[in-house]
Amino acid sequence: MMSVARTVYSLARGLRTVPALILPIAAGGAACVMLAVLSGVQPLAVIVAIWDGAWGSTGSAVTTVTKVTPLLLTGLAVAAAYQARLLNIGCEGQLTLGALSAAAFAVTAGSLPWPLLLPLTLLVGAAAGGIWALPAIWLRQKRGVHEVISTLLLNYLALYLADYLVLGPLGDGTVMGRTPPISPEAALTPLLQVGTQRLTAAPLIALGLSLAFQLWLGRTAWGFEATAAGHNRLGAQTAGIAAASWQRRIFVLSGALAGLAGALEVLAVHHRFYRAFSPGYGFDGITAAFLVKATPGWLWLSSLLLASLRAADKWLQLMVGISPSIILVIQAILLLAVACQWRLPALRRRKEIP
């Protein structure tokens, strides 16, 4: 009985993160209304269209939930790095290389039975993402290069490297910029199929990982050490924690999560790697993470919100005749509002402490 009460209490405490979403969403809504008015469209029609586009039918709901996977995992990647107070802006590149290596592996090792092939493919994707994060953290720790710069630049390297590989050695011989289709053994089996839309276990995997990571952070000695190293590096070192090593581990984990996002995208949705298959999931992950103050346990909420917006953009054009770019504007406003909100306590805290 006590433990139930305690669980409810701790959940309620965790809810403190949610009000953080209210201001950004209100700001995003206001921007949406304003843009609609400026474009001569009924504001309500826009909001209804977004809702219908994302959740109006089973098919659209499946599309929306499918889009949650990469957003949740890249969001988790950013949030994980942020626990060690590092910013991983390189999720896009890590995700691309993760997807490409997973696809290439699933093509070449396609003869393996699925219980072996599937986890191995995911592992290869994660490894590729993790490896792509290594130079950034190495430069940060040995040369003092800020990881925002290095990961940002590594994105371009990754995208061009993927282009080269997919148009050359790993491609299917066409000029389409794609790999051959992966072995059906490797693909995730759809739990639900609506038209061409397939719902797989991928969103559940992502959700499970985010919740597990939250537990790991808050409840284990390792999670405690990792966050301590992030909150006060010198203090953690003084307490005997290998802070630098924790930062390395966390950052590589962050890259691996982004790589995993790419691998799952290949196995669950595309079944092959396409050039530029990601509409910027890596960057959306930053928004997803900071909308919930980089709290892994609440990422499902923010990624669901972003996925809904993403899924609705075509519908918006069809039904209201407004450019789908409005979604990007809303997203940008969301992020700006989050950034402003983070500054608010700092302004309030101006009063001196004795």
Binding site: R219, T220, L234, T238, G240, I241, P354
Partner: protein, 559 residues
């Protein structure tokens, strides 16, 4: 005229700024103080019933204080008596909750330090805010650079500052980067910043506490020089001897209240000590306060005699470092600590004390030499491995260097113990036990707190220090390195700390105490040494030590 600053700045400034009304020359030098009648004539600055609270704590309660132009006025009192708060209110850093400040009879309000400086009142800080990459000159003029259109007129700045330095006898190398300057020079920068801004009332917060005795002497001479050039000086000090030597008048604060102001010629040191510590009856012509007086501290030396054949617990053999930052490197530093000994290390700030602590805990690499602990070489071991062997360190700034300000109190007490077998099971933290242990430790060390879940940053400075000390002293350490352990602690907490150290020491714990307060070292240590430029220039026992000897060592004079 009650125009609030700075809205009425223009008119206010024109009517009663110090720069426009020339102080009458009769106030200069020590002349006003030669007769008691001088005080009553006209208060120059008057603080009236100033009150200030920090949460539940009253730092100042109805404090009134008059300043006479051209005097040197000392403020004395225990830790936490409200001295610094009062000075911060006068210098515009804090705003009072009640009461008023009058300047030549006109009420003034300072919203920020710049307002006070514009009115001619400025405070020299104990923690210098210097830009290490700028020169001394740049550090002084920053914020008020001469020149126009964004160009700095360096020649003008140089000339002005040179004249200023000459007038008060400073030999400050203006073109040298601040990073290379000594502590005393940095203090000169801090003072020149105020004089350059034409400040007439200078406030100092424990200006001599980090200086070597001869430098402190020089500083007191400087106060006289400043006085004779028409400045008014207000300074906080714990050193009653120097207060009586240099100040014209002294005000005693006790638990946020002013106990009274005395001519230094009319009060004996014994009486002053009595008033500061006990807060007793403050004399017939002042208000009486009935305050329960705490028992006066007992300065007993630690009851310990070194065994005839001591076993060494820590040996430093010719340790040399190279990567010290803003701090002297160790130069063939050798020292052996016997098990169960308390060794104190002093010296002027920046002579390698901190480098030594970083070496011992393993945060800075040793260039040459070796460190042996309990017979095992630890020169290359990581901080974690050394902690596991029972070495603990309290850094000088524990909040930045040993604690997690944004995390809960229980997490701060867990830090460093998270792998202990009784606090976790297969990596999963056992929160119930962890919190129980945290609560016990906080209670035992009198850390005033609202809840275990509140973030550390909500605690007051003294309580943070108590928590940091508790982290270091709990859990059976074998060697404890304390850097400025009583920083921020009030008298009672200092007593408690001393008792704890002695108690642990009786149980066999070895202490290395690094402090800039010679009195503290003399009270606590079995042996004490002085560091000079990264070397141990002298080592003695409190019984044999003389202030003169220690002072010479602090300045690098051997023998």
């Amino acid at each position: 005229m009650t125009g609030r600053w700075p809205r009425a700045a223009g008119t206010w400034h024109r009517t009663i700024s110090l720069f426009d009304i020339q102080g009458s020359s009769s106030w200069q030098a020590r002349s006003p103080m030669t007769s008691t009648g001088g005080i009553s004539t006209k208060p120059f600055i008057a603080l009236r019933t100033i009150s200030r609270r920090f949460g539940p704590v009253s730092a100042n309660r109805d404090v009134s204080l008059d300043l006479v132009e051209g005097e040197i006025h000392a403020i004395v009192g225990e830790n936490g008596a409200g001295k610094s708060t009062l000075m911060k209110i006068l210098s515009g850093e804090l705003q009072p909750d009640g009461g008023e400040i009058r300047l030549r009879g006109h009420r003034i309000t300072f919203r920020r330090p710049q307002d006070a400086i514009a009115a001619g009142i400025g405070m020299a800080h104990q923690h210098f805010l210097v830009f290490p990459q700028l020169t001394a000159m740049e550090n002084i003029i920053v914020g008020k650079e001469p020149g126009r259109w964004g160009w700095i007129n360096r020649r003008q700045a140089d000339q002005e500052l040179l004249a200023l330095c000459r007038s008060i006898g400073f030999a400050l190398p203006l073109e040298v980067l601040a990073a290379r300057l000594s502590f005393a020079h940095l203090q000169q920068i801090e003072i020149l910043r105020l004089l350059y801004r034409k400040v007439k009332v200078l406030i100092f917060d424990e200006p001599t506490s980090l200086l070597a005795p001869p430098e402190a002497e020089r500083f007191l001479d400087l106060l006289h020089t400043l006085q004779s050039s028409g400045h008014t000086i207000l300074f906080i000090s714990h050193r009653l001897r120097e207060v009586l030597a240099v100040a014209d008048r002294v005000t005693i604060l006790n638990r946020g209240r002013a106990l009274g102001t005395f001519m230094t010629t009319e009060i004996s040191q014994e009486r002053l000590v009595q008033l500061v510590i006990a807060g007793a009856d403050a004399g017939s012509n002042h208000h009486r306060h009935t305050i329960p007086s705490p028992s006066p501290p007992t300065f007993h030396p630690p009851p310990f005699t070194l065994p005839s054949s001591p076993t060494p617990i820590l040996e430093l053999n010719e340790v040399t470092t190279r990567s010290g930052y803003q701090e002297a490197n160790l130069d063939r530093f050798s020292l052996t600590l016997a098990r169960g000994e308390i060794v104190g290390l002093g010296g002027v700030v920046g002579n390698g004390q901190r480098t030594l602590a970083l070496q011992l805990i393993g945060l800075q690499p040793v260039e040459r030499g070796s460190i042996v602990f309990s017979g095992q070489e630890i020169t290359r071991l990581s901080p974690g491995e050394r902690l596991a062997m029972g070495i603990r360190w309290l850094p000088a700034n524990p909040v930045e260097e040993a604690l997690l300000p944004s995390r809960a109190l229980w997490e701060n007490l867990l830090l460093g113990h998270q792998r202990q077998p009784f606090l976790q099971r297969f990596g999963w933290l056992r929160r119930k036990i962890i919190k129980q242990r945290a609560a016990e430790h906080l209670d035992r060390n009198n850390v005033v707190h609202a809840s275990l879940d509140e973030p550390l940053s909500r605690l007051s400075g003294g309580n943070m220090q108590k928590l940091a000390l508790c982290r270091v002293l709990e859990g059976s350490p074998s060697l404890v390195i304390l850097e400025q352990p009583s920083r921020g602690l009030d008298l009672r907490a200092q007593e408690h700390l001393r008792d704890r150290i002695i108690e642990l020491n009786r149980g066999g714990v070895t202490f290395l105490i690094i402090s800039y307060d010679l009195e503290e070292l003399l009270r606590l240590s079995h042996r004490l040494g002085i560091l000079y430029r990264g070397r141990l220039i002298g080592l003695t026992t409190p019984a044999e030590a003389s202030h003169e000897q220690l002072g010479r060592w602090m300045l690098g004079v051997e023998a």
